[in-house]
């Protein structure tokens, strides 16, 4: 960089762009390797399982010839490396095989259930951000006071709470006893399949259809599971916000701003908070990825027809194609969100790029 600066602006920008190019290539490479690793792991899981996939297709009483024919048809007689390459090829083409349970292609099933999970996790993240960020900022500003202690307890309890149990208790209290919210499922039984599925997210679909009754019903169903997921991400987001803010508030420019006589509000939100935005976005992306996963158990509790319910139901009926397909999809989204947050960080904060 030092030589580039002395040699004028053209060299500088070309050096910079080649560095960005290198970094992009490096990141792409690491994404590829990670995805390959993910596929290798799911492939191995599919191989080590004690159930013979051929037997489950042809049945116990099949003759030797039928068995061998089915084995060859499923490609299981080929060398293991070839099988792995075929597996990668299939996954790249969106082919996860057929589900035993639904008898449909797994990819189709996942496309159908994924929007439900996305809807839940997105709303949960929104709750987590709207409550967690202010809580973290206030805890940092009022460090050591009762508000700070309260924020700490709220976060610790969130970290320690079995989320499926919290969901169960929430259902008991707000649905069973108080009757404030809708019960399990995405909508009441009379509203199922009323609005045409466009995005698969029922809140958006009912708005598109201008069906306000369904929208109201859907909101009453999603509010509890999403706020429980939101509490989970609130715990993480508020802690991270607090520590980022503390770091900024102890910096000298904050003292300068205060000495200048700026109102405390400006100092906190216009000066300190502005500087933690990038870090915060990466944290939010990470917590979003965690929520996609954390929603698995919540979905079971609330009979939410998302990918978590799909994987678990498949699991309980030994439907390995569906389990592995679901794992790969969740894994891919997870990896992508991780990489996205990392890239974002490097993009906005040149110091992080080594």
């Amino acid at each position: 960089m030092a030589t580039a600066e002395t040699n004028g602006k053209g060299r500088l920008s070309s050096a910079l762009s080649s560095r960005i190019l290198m970094r992009t290539i490096k990141t792409l490479f690491s994404v590829l390797v990670t995805m390959l690793g993910l596929l290798l792991v799911t492939f191995v899981i599919g191989r080590v399982m004690p159930i013979d996939p051929v037997l489950s297709v042809v049945g116990e009483s099949a003759t030797r010839e039928t068995y061998d024919a089915a084995r060859a048809a499923m490609g299981l007689d080929k060398p293991i490396v070839v099988q792995f390459l075929i597996y990668i090829w299939d996954v790249m083409h969106g082919d996860f095989g057929n589900s035993l349970l639904t008898a449909r292609p797994v990819a189709q099933d996942i496309a159908r259930v994924f929007p439900a999970t996305l809807e839940l996790a997105t709303l949960g993240t929104i709750f987590g951000v709207l409550l967690g960020v202010p809580l973290g900022v206030v805890a940092a500003v009022k460090r050591g006071t009762w508000i700070d202690q309260l924020a700490r307890v709220v976060a610790l309890v969130g970290y320690s709470m079995p989320i499926f149990w919290l969901g169960l208790m929430g259902l008991l209290l707000f649905y069973g006893v108080l009757g404030w919210v809708g019960g399990p499922g995405r909508v009441g039984i009379f509203y199922v399949d009323v609005v045409p599925p466009v995005t698969g997210m029922i809140l958006i679909d009912s708005i598109l259809d201008q069906n306000w009754t369904v929208l109201k019903n859907a909101i009453s169903h999603i509010i509890l599971p999403s706020s429980i997921l939101g509490y989970y991400s609130l715990a993480y987001i508020s802690r991270m916000t607090r520590s980022f803010m503390l770091e900024q508030l102890s910096a000298e420019y904050i003292t300068t701003a205060r000495v200048k006589g700026l109102p405390e509000r400006t100092v906190i939100w216009r000066h300190a908070f502005r500087n933690i935005k990038v870090q915060l976005i990466t944290v939010i992306a990470l917590s979003y990825a965690n929520l996609l996963e954390g929603s698995v158990l919540t979905e079971i509790i609330f009979s939410w027809p998302g990918i978590g319910s799909y994987i678990t139901n498949a699991l309980l009926s030994a439907d390995m194609n569906a389990v592995l397909g679901g794992t790969v999809v969740v894994g891919l989204v997870f990896v992508l969100l991780n990489i996205f947050s990392e890239l974002l960080y490097k993009f906005f904060d040149p110091r992080a790029a080594e």
Partner: protein
């Protein structure tokens, strides 16, 4: 120690500025850490809960009022504070308190196994990667990154699906998803230690890599690993309970807390305590680990203090 006890107390011996032996120096530093930890009320609460858990698990047969597995269909779904069943009974008439008490053994069993397997695996991978460097380091860290980028619960689910349900498989699945952070920590520590003067001194004395790693690097990695283990244990308990809840961990009639919630879930609206009590137990233990871990971090790793 006899000649010391006459002239100075244990406390003075432990807090002296001029330790006379290596053992005294070690004990003194441990005592100092204990004093710091003791001043942290919340950490002490966590420690107390965990000690209580340990005692409850050890003396379960003496503490439990009933056999955790014995069914009594005549006394099913009794409410809280029933005579002889302080926390009521479940759908098969089993005493919930007794099941919780015996369930603490399963929780401790899982936690102990994971706390042994995951950090040791991570320590091995991390120190080998850090000490060897070069291509070994690159490959091992790439594998670590791959596992780190996975969704943990979903991966554990898939593992258990392949291996079959059961406590040991749940432990294996959780460990398989839990080791990467330890490998990272151990590698970072190894990289700093490797270049220090005392390692060069040991090398000059002719020590081989194996001796350096096991005798000089591992002991220095331990403290940061312990902090991480304590903080991780809450997550391990929650994961194990989650697997148990899904029917993939401990199998019935085992009184595993997650599985108990799953059993109680069917009656949640009318007999809420059947599911509520085991959840409280999980929450309490996991909170205790978080509290203790927070405090330990301040003692053992002052750099990243809880500020």
């Amino acid at each position: 120690m006899t000649q010391q006890s006459s002239t100075q107390t244990w406390r003075q011996w432990l807090t002296t500025d001029t330790p006379r032996s290596r053992r005294q120096a070690r004990l003194a530093s441990a005592y100092h850490g204990w004093l710091t930890l003791r001043s942290n009320t919340l950490a002490m609460v966590g420690l107390a809960i965990l000690l209580a858990l340990l005692l409850i698990a050890a003396f379960a047969p003496f503490l439990a009022p009933h056999d955790p597995l014995s069914q009594d269909l005549g006394a099913r779904l009794l409410p809280l504070w029933t005579d002889g069943h302080p926390l009521g009974t479940d759908s098969l008439g089993r005493d919930i308190l007794s099941r919780l008490i015996y369930g603490s053994r399963i929780t401790l069993y899982i936690v102990t196994l994971v706390a042994l397997i995951a950090p040791i695996a991570g320590l091995l991978v991390g120190t080998i990667a850090g000490y060897t460097g070069g291509i070994v380091d690159a490959v091992l860290m790439r594998i670590t990154d791959i596992f780190l980028a996975f969704p943990r619960l979903v991966l554990a689910l898939a593992f258990v699906a392949a291996l079959g349900a059961g406590i040991e498989n749940a432990v294996l699945a959780i460990s398989l998803t839990a080791w990467p952070p330890y490998a990272r920590i151990a590698r970072a520590e190894t990289l700093t230690i490797r270049r220090s003067d005392f390692i060069s001194a040991v090398q000059l004395q002719g020590a081989g890599p194996l001796r350096i790693i096991t005798r000089h690097i591992w002991p220095l990695c331990i403290s940061s690993l312990i902090v991480r283990v304590t903080l991780d244990m809450a997550g391990v308990i929650l994961a194990a309970a989650g697997l148990g809840f899904l029917g993939l961990g401990a199998q019935p009639p085992s009184p595993e807390w997650g599985a108990m919630i799953s059993e109680g879930r069917k009656f949640i609206l009318d007999f809420w305590w059947v599911a509520a009590m085991p959840g409280l137990a999980i929450f309490t233990v996991s909170l205790a680990f978080n509290l203790l871990g927070d405090g330990l971090r301040d003692v053992l790793d002052p750099k990243s203090g809880s500020s």
